[in-house]
């Protein structure tokens, strides 16, 4: 029964970790705009856009 000590402390620690993650994400404005990311995620060519820009930069 005394193992419960450890179990509780462990679960609380993990839960606090999630709480901190939540607070941090709100603080860094990730919830300010909750619409645009949903559209943005459907675009492809994001990576290739930046890659081709870098390529053009090098060629200049």
């Amino acid at each position: 029964m005394s193992v419960i000590f450890i179990l509780i402390i462990a679960s609380l620690t993990i839960a606090i970790g999630f709480l901190i993650a939540f607070l941090w994400s709100v603080k860094t404005n990730q919830y300010d705009d909750d619409y645009t990311p949903s559209v943005r995620i459907l675009f492809d060519n994001e990576l290739s856009a930046t890659q081709s820009t870098n390529a053009k930069e090098k060629n200049k």
């Binding site: 029964m1 005394s2 000590f5 609380l12 709480l19 607070l23 943005r40 856009a49 820009t53």
Partner: protein, 816 residues
């Protein structure tokens, strides 16, 4: 009128019909050079996916932006105010682009680095229609970025407001933090309370029991000191002002619960009620959050600075022109105003054909011709060609902005005590009565139970249920109303609407549509040839009536007009295919002028033969008749307008004699004030700057707009113009507010009785409190959101079938 068969080519860029000319690249057609240019720009950098993500995503580029338009962005002082971050290599700036409307826009605007390599990155916030651009200022400039955006069809919109307070309203995150922390603590406390609920044998190991108890105590500290802090501060504030709001009894209940629980845990007497306390704080915070969720994409507090432009052209001697920030204009400066620009300061006309649209400022529906030497007031829009004006008053001293100095704008927002505050007072009295009653009872019978019973009563009968009912009802109603195009500023507005008993309407732009003019033609039938004559002649003039005629007549080729003569304000004439064609007012044709008969007539004469006339009338919003009929039953209606009284007879049926015309913005404010002195609760519905004072003074100010992203003056509600027909139902929906709150509150009281039964006996076990609290909270939430949504469905259903009804009885077809 015979309609010519329309050509079906649509522009690849903007999707509109290619009426006047069609340009081609490969198999793609474009309606104008502007659209074609945007396509070429995008094609060059391989950004043509823009056209595949959405169909015809562009905006019509027929009216190109002047190349000098953003020259004022080169002013260093201005840049400092607009750029919100700058280091040696980067500048950060945010542009407002009202044209953003689809995912193609987002895609293109986030690919700006491809168009200009000096732009490092750009990020779109679609709901706010903003794009944040980070650019390298050593390689490009703020003005270049703005020019680039214009060239692809997204002209940034600047207003004087952008210079103002840099502290943009950051929505309050602290409540979200509170909800997160309180929720965390609540969940864990409940988890740790399970052994107590189920009493799985008494816990033998003292160490374990202590662990649970002290963990619970420890977890409840953030809830009490941080989560519940807003209740305490609000209660203290109200007590200082010597009146009781709803937070006072709640704060008391939380305090007593915490106090007693701390005592029990430390003395080892019991388990305390921390789970109930943290739970109820959690639910109440969620309710408040839900209710106070503001639509940060809407601006309810705009003043005149949001309407005025940022820069204007100043003309110096020797013809030198320079773009200057509007705030730097001094009395005596000569400014140049181009077509479709807003005049930023009261000035005298020196040169040019002034055709000023002042509908937003004074409410006059037709543009006014001003002659040289006349004073033109700030806020009007020039519809003709370029003008030169001399400024006579500072921007902030103009006739229009002096309105903002009125006391109505300085008043604080205290608009009456809310309903739940009054109810909570009665509740508190009853609560204390029960507590004192049971205290006396137990004092006589079993004094040891007194403290127990009294604190239990105060714990269980928390008016939290009342707050929950109110906040969730309001929050849901706000959400429902938003779905109907009725954007209320906060929950208090709903109550104010429910209490209102009179409505004051503005005319121009409010009950009339701003863009549409109703045109009909009376007279001899015109064949295709005649139509094309009239159309070609009218197209030569920039007068709004001519433009309306051009729009009304079916499309056709424009014929060449010789000897074109325009008499400003009277008419135009010319020679087409060797025939004399003339259109104009009665006075233009030299006949005895009659007084206007509820509209403006433009006569058509060809080769001395009068064909007929176009009648251009104010086009009322759809459904106006029905709305006014319904509203008349419950409210006193009046109309107050800055326009002339030509519509008096048409509107007499609804407003009787309560129609006032030619009123200034100040008059409107005073009228509302006079109604309020008669103890009336007034709703004002208006749309323009000239209504700003009245909107502010009234109990509820509704600004009606045809484009919710456009400027609208400071108000309590923004109403989408297309939803005007629903107005009566929306107002009635608001009055259901009290009903729903009462029902759910009574239901929750039933739960309270069960708890009180145990509490008064002094035998309230934590588990009972812990069960009652979530059950009553959740049932309140379900009941309030359910009821308010059900009532909303009724409105929706009503409009689904009314759309098929005949609108023949609409006022536009009513004969005088």
């Amino acid at each position: 009128m015979i309609k010519e068969p329309q050509q079906k080519t649509t522009c690849y860029h903007c999707g509109e019909n290619c009426e006047e000319e069609t340009l081609h690249i490969a198999e793609k057609s474009f309606c104008c050079q502007g659209c074609k240019t945007v396509y070429e720009i995008l094609n060059k950098v391989e950004l043509c996916d823009y056209y595949t993500i959405s169909n015809a995503p562009g905006l019509n580029q027929k009216n190109k932006v002047r190349p000098e338009k953003f020259a004022f962005l080169e002013d260093v002082q201005l840049q400092q105010k607009l750029i919100h971050f700058k280091n040696e290599k980067q500048s950060h700036v945010t542009f407002y682009l009202p044209q953003m409307h689809c995912s193609s826009c987002i895609w293109l605007l986030e690919n700006l680095p491809k168009l200009d390599h000096a732009i490092i990155r750009s990020e779109v916030n679609f709901l706010k229609k903003e794009v944040s651009v980070v650019f390298d200022h050593t390689r490009t400039s703020l003005r270049s970025v703005a020019d680039l955006l214009s060239s692809i069809g997204y002209e940034p919109h600047f207003s004087l407001n952008d210079l103002g307070n840099k502290t943009k309203v950051k929505y309050d995150k602290s409540r979200i933090y509170k909800i997160g922390i309180t929720g965390f603590c609540f969940g864990n406390i409940m988890l740790l309370s399970f052994p107590e609920y189920f009493s799985l044998g008494e816990i033998e190991e003292k160490g374990l029991k202590d662990l649970f108890s002290y963990l619970i105590l420890f977890l409840s500290l953030p809830v009490f000191f941080y989560g519940a802090s807003e209740f305490f501060t609000s209660a203290i504030k109200s007590l200082k002002q010597r009146y009781l709001n709803i937070d006072a009894p709640i704060a008391l209940a939380v305090l007593i619960t915490f106090g007693r629980s701390v005592y029990e845990i430390i003395s080892g007497n019991g388990a305390g009620y921390m789970d109930s306390m943290s739970g109820i704080v959690f639910f109440m915070l969620i309710g408040r959050f839900f209710q106070d969720k503001t639509y940060n994409t809407m601006a309810f507090t705009r003043d005149y600075t949001s309407y005025f432009p940022l820069g204007v052209t100043v003309v110096y001697s020797a013809g030198v022109e320079k773009q200057v920030p509007v705030s730097n204009i001094k009395v005596g400066d000569r400014i140049k105003i181009h077509s479709n620009e807003i005049i930023p300061a009261d000035s005298i006309l020196f040169y040019g054909n002034a055709n000023i649209d002042q509908s937003f400022v004074t409410g006059e529906s037709l543009p006014i011709e001003k002659s040289i030497g006349e004073i033109i007031y700030a806020g009007g829009k020039q519809l003709g060609g370029a003008l030169e004006l001399e400024v006579v008053k500072d921007v902030s001293q103009s006739y229009l902005t002096s309105l903002w100095n009125n006391d109505a704008f300085k008043k604080n927002e205290q608009k009456g005590v809310s309903y739940i505050h009054t109810v909570s007072r009665y509740f508190t009295v009853v609560l204390f009565a029960i507590a004192i009653g049971s205290a006396i009872y137990w004092q006589l019978h079993n004094p040891s139970k007194v403290w127990n019973a009294v604190t239990s009563i105060l714990i269980v009968a928390c008016p939290c249920a009342l707050l929950l009912s109110a906040t969730f009802t309001n929050g849901n109603m706000l959400r429902v109303l938003q779905g109907f195009g009725f954007f209320a500023r906060n929950a208090g507005v709903i109550e104010q609407v429910a209490n209102a008993d009179s409505i004051v309407f503005d005319k121009t732009g409010t009950i009339t549509e701003q863009t549409n003019s109703g045109i009909t033609y009376e007279g001899a039938q015109m064949d295709e040839k005649i139509i094309s004559y009239v159309r070609s002649l009218a197209a030569q003039s920039s007068h709004p009536l001519s433009k309306a005629i051009v729009k009304y007549l079916p499309g056709g080729a424009k014929l060449k007009v010789k000897n074109f003569i325009e008499k400003p304000g009277a008419g135009v004439m010319g020679i087409i295919e060797d025939k004399k064609v003339a259109i104009g007012s009665l006075k233009f044709f030299d006949q005895k002028a009659h007084s206007s008969d509820g509209g403006t007539r433009v006569y058509v004469q060809i080769e001395d033969r009068m064909y007929g006339s176009f009648i251009i009338q104010a086009h009322y919003r759809e459904g106006l008749t029905q709305v006014l009929e319904d509203l008349k039953r419950r409210f006193k209606l009046s109309l107050i307008s800055g326009d002339n009284d030509s519509e008096f007879s048409r509107l007499k049926h609804f407003f009787d004699a309560n129609q006032y015309f030619n009123r200034s913005p100040q008059d409107k404010l005073e009228y509302i004030d006079s109604l309020q002195k008669e103890n009336k609760k007034v709703i004002m519905i208006g749309d323009g700057l000239n209504d700003a004072g009245a909107l502010r003074q009234s109990n509820v100010g509704i600004a009606i707009t045809d484009n919710v992203n456009n400027f609208s003056p400071a108000c309590d509600v923004i109403l989408d113009g297309t939803k005007f027909a629903h107005l009566n139902d929306l107002l009635r929906y608001c009055s259901n507010n009290k009903l729903i709150i009462n029902i759910s509150f009574i239901v929750s009281i039933l739960y309270n009785f069960i708890g009180l039964y145990f509490a008064a006996q002094g035998s309230l076990q934590p588990v009972i409190a812990a069960i009652l609290m979530p059950i009553s909270s959740i049932s309140i939430v379900l009941l309030t959101t359910g009821l308010s949504s059900i009532l909303a469905i009724q409105i929706k259903r009503k409009y689904a079938c009314s759309k098929t009804q005949n609108l023949k009885t609409d006022i536009n077809h009513m004969s005088i």
